[in-house]
């Protein structure tokens, strides 16, 4: 049972992981992360990488939608911008991995600013519509310019880090996981500072926030730019992971996937982004499994895609109606129970 935790300085009180037990669990998690690639099969390595990419992107969307309260349906479009940037740079320029990823982030961020400047001056709803527009426009650009390889897309050569070619899930894991962890830490840090507080203020009561000293347009753009940057980096990792980018790789449905992820996981919490991304990545896999087990499985595969679409929508609706704070809240309830055990709450 966890009784009061004593802090001896304000800095200690503000730390991300404060209690002894938390630090122990953190060490265990880190050890597991290091051990995992050596014991997991290729399939699970593939899933792990995919989960990390989704966690990174979902965290970006969470900053924008969960913490700042601005709905975006353009997460996939910005991932696409990042992915194509990485693809073009790796394919045509052969520039190093880190540079490409950062460039992907910046191009996506630029796209975000272009979309955000007209639409963030008014209500948040307009941003959502503008991001849908952005999805269509980016798709149009990807499919209709030869620079981006047209409808056929581009094949991405593997990244090369310190002379090692990242062409297997095992090797990519060692790059994708640290990048994701850094992005998570960055997001967590954000909300210990005035920047994060400003975002939350905008979500909860934006008109008062301005009178209290927060320039609204600037911070909304900042939030949107940051979340687009996260999407761009995630898109870049995606490109290195799947090694092929096409205009169809980042459909509107993927943006809905990420929105579902943060709703299911719990908007406005870092843990929510992680839980939601893990959950949503597993859903299509579980679905495939269920379909394989059913009789007449070969005839039913045509239903896989529509059922997936329906389930994404139902998850969004279901969680918003029944559990609006998502899995993170369920997790918190379980933790509270154990904190007080053996006393009842």
């Amino acid at each position: 049972m966890r009784i009061g935790t004593l802090k001896e300085s304000y800095i200690a009180d503000a730390a991300l992981f404060d209690s002894r037990t938390q630090k122990v669990w953190l060490a265990v998690a880190a050890a597991l992360l290091v051990l995992f690639p050596f014991i997991a099969s290729d399939y699970w390595l593939y899933l792990a990488c995919l989960v990390c990419i989704n966690v990174a992107s979902a965290t970006g969307l969470n900053i924008l939608t969960g913490y700042t309260g601005l709905v975006s349906l353009g997460q996939a479009a910005f991932m696409g911008l990042g992915a194509y940037t990485v693809a073009i740079m790796q394919l045509r320029l052969g520039t190093p991995f880190l540079l490409n990823i950062l460039a992907g982030g910046f191009v996506a961020m630029l796209g975000g600013l272009i979309v955000g400047i007209p639409s963030l001056r008014v209500k948040g709803l307009y941003l959502a519509i503008a991001t849908i527009a952005a999805s269509f426009i980016t798709h149009f650009i990807f499919a209709n310019t030869s620079f981006t390889g047209g409808t056929g897309g581009l094949t991405v050569p593997p990244a090369s880090v310190f002379g090692v070619l990242l062409d297997t899930s095992f090797r990519l894991y060692w790059v994708i996981v640290p990048v994701t962890v850094l992005m998570l830490l960055g997001a967590a840090n954000l909300f210990r500072t005035r920047v994060g507080r400003a975002f939350i203020a905008i979500r909860d009561r934006d008109i008062s926030a301005e009178v209290l000293g927060i320039p609204l347009l600037r911070y909304k753009l900042l939030s949107f730019g940051l979340s687009s940057f996260y999407a761009g980096v995630a898109g870049g990792l995606w490109a290195y992971f799947f090694r092929v980018v096409t205009p169809e790789s980042f459909p509107l449905l993927m943006s809905i996937f990420f929105l579902a992820a943060i709703i299911v996981g719990g908007m406005g919490t870092i843990l929510g982004g992680i839980l939601g991304a893990v959950f949503m990545t597993m859903v299509p896999e579980l679905l495939k499994l269920v379909f394989d087990l059913l009789p007449n499985s070969t005839e039913l595969t045509v239903f896989l895609s529509p059922v997936r679409t329906i389930i994404f929508g139902l998850l969004i609706i279901g969680f918003l109606v029944f559990e609006p704070h998502g899995l993170a809240e369920m997790w918190r309830r379980i933790r509270r129970f154990f904190h007080l055990w053996p006393f009842r709450n």
């Binding site: 709905v71 001056r121 809905i256 529509p306 329906i310 929508g313 609706i317 918003l320 109606v321």
Partner: protein, 292 residues
């Protein structure tokens, strides 16, 4: 400058705009009554079109039966949607309901793909097929009659809103639920009514649009243009829906004719950006005075 061609295209654009106006009206109905932004308006339009397809093609009902059946069926769908996913979120921040409509759009698209497959389908013809000529300009008969039907229903809705006390009730519940309740207005019933009527108007719009261009599971993209229409016109303005619809219809037709079909949506979005920069609340929308 081929004026005759320009005239012809403009005519088609304005007629098409009438359809946009009808769908925009469906959107404004819900927003005026419940302050909910229904991003699934395009998908509800699609649902209506597919219901008509089921009744008219698959069940081979006569047209005069199939259309009302599809419209009523959509009304029922609207009532179910309101009851199960909108009503429970009363009092939650508007962003939550907005996201629910995103989920709804996804569910509708998935259902359509599952039940009717993603293939494009044709709706049975039920409109007169004689070509309409305005002077030397040719207007496709379906487009013309579609616009006529749209105009008739828009006029009907406008009159009802203006003179029936239900219209006043609708506006009352939108501005202040508590006050409306204390005036004896059955607020939940008004909400349901708004969604039912909205769904029926969307279905009507969908049937006409489907008759002109066929139906498919990606029909919902029509909703995007409708969203631009309501932003241009003002989210809560019926007049705005009309004017906005005609404008966007014109813009798209001109873009399609002079730049190419792929540029239609692009042109629409440019209009969106321009409107957001110069008149973000739309041409006729009410700029709500916020109180601190």
């Amino acid at each position: 400058m081929d004026w005759a061609y320009l005239f012809e295209i403009s005519l088609t654009g304005i007629a098409g705009g009438g359809l946009y106006a009808l769908a925009a009206l469906a959107f404004v109905m819900v927003y005026k009554a419940t302050r909910v932004v229904n991003i699934a308006i395009g998908e509800m339009l699609m649902a209506g079109a597919y219901l008509f397809f089921t009744f008219a093609s698959m069940l081979a009902l006569p047209i005069w039966l199939a259309i009302p059946a599809a419209v009523l069926g959509s009304g029922l769908l609207g009532a179910v949607i309101e009851r199960t996913m909108i009503r429970p979120l009363l009092g939650e921040p508007p962003i939550s309901v907005f996201m629910v409509t995103v989920g709804l759009a996804s569910v509708l698209v998935g259902l359509v793909e599952m039940i009717w497959t993603a293939d494009q389908k044709r709706l049975p013809d039920f409109m007169p097929t004689q070509a309409i000529m305005v002077g030397d300009a040719f207007l496709a008969p379906k487009v013309f009659w579609g616009a006529v039907i749209a105009v008739v229903f828009i006029a009907a809705v406008l009159l009802v809103f203006r003179f029936w006390r239900g219209g006043v009730a609708l506006r009352a519940t939108a501005s202040d639920q508590a006050a409306a309740y204390s005036m004896g207005i059955n607020v939940p019933r008004v909400f349901s009514l708004a969604w039912v009527v909205s769904a029926m108007l969307a279905a009507l719009s969908g049937i006409i649009v489907g008759s002109i261009g066929g139906i498919s599971s990606t029909m919902g993209v029509f909703g995007l243009s409708v969203l631009v229409v309501v932003i241009v016109g003002g989210l809560d303005s019926v007049l705005g829906a009309l004017v906005g619809g005609l404008c966007i219809g014109l813009v798209e037709a001109l873009a399609g004719a002079y730049l190419g079909g792929e540029y239609k949506l692009l042109a629409t979005f440019i209009v969106l950006v321009v409107i957001l920069m110069i008149r973000p609340y739309g041409l006729f929308g009410t700029h709500e005075i916020e109180r601190l």
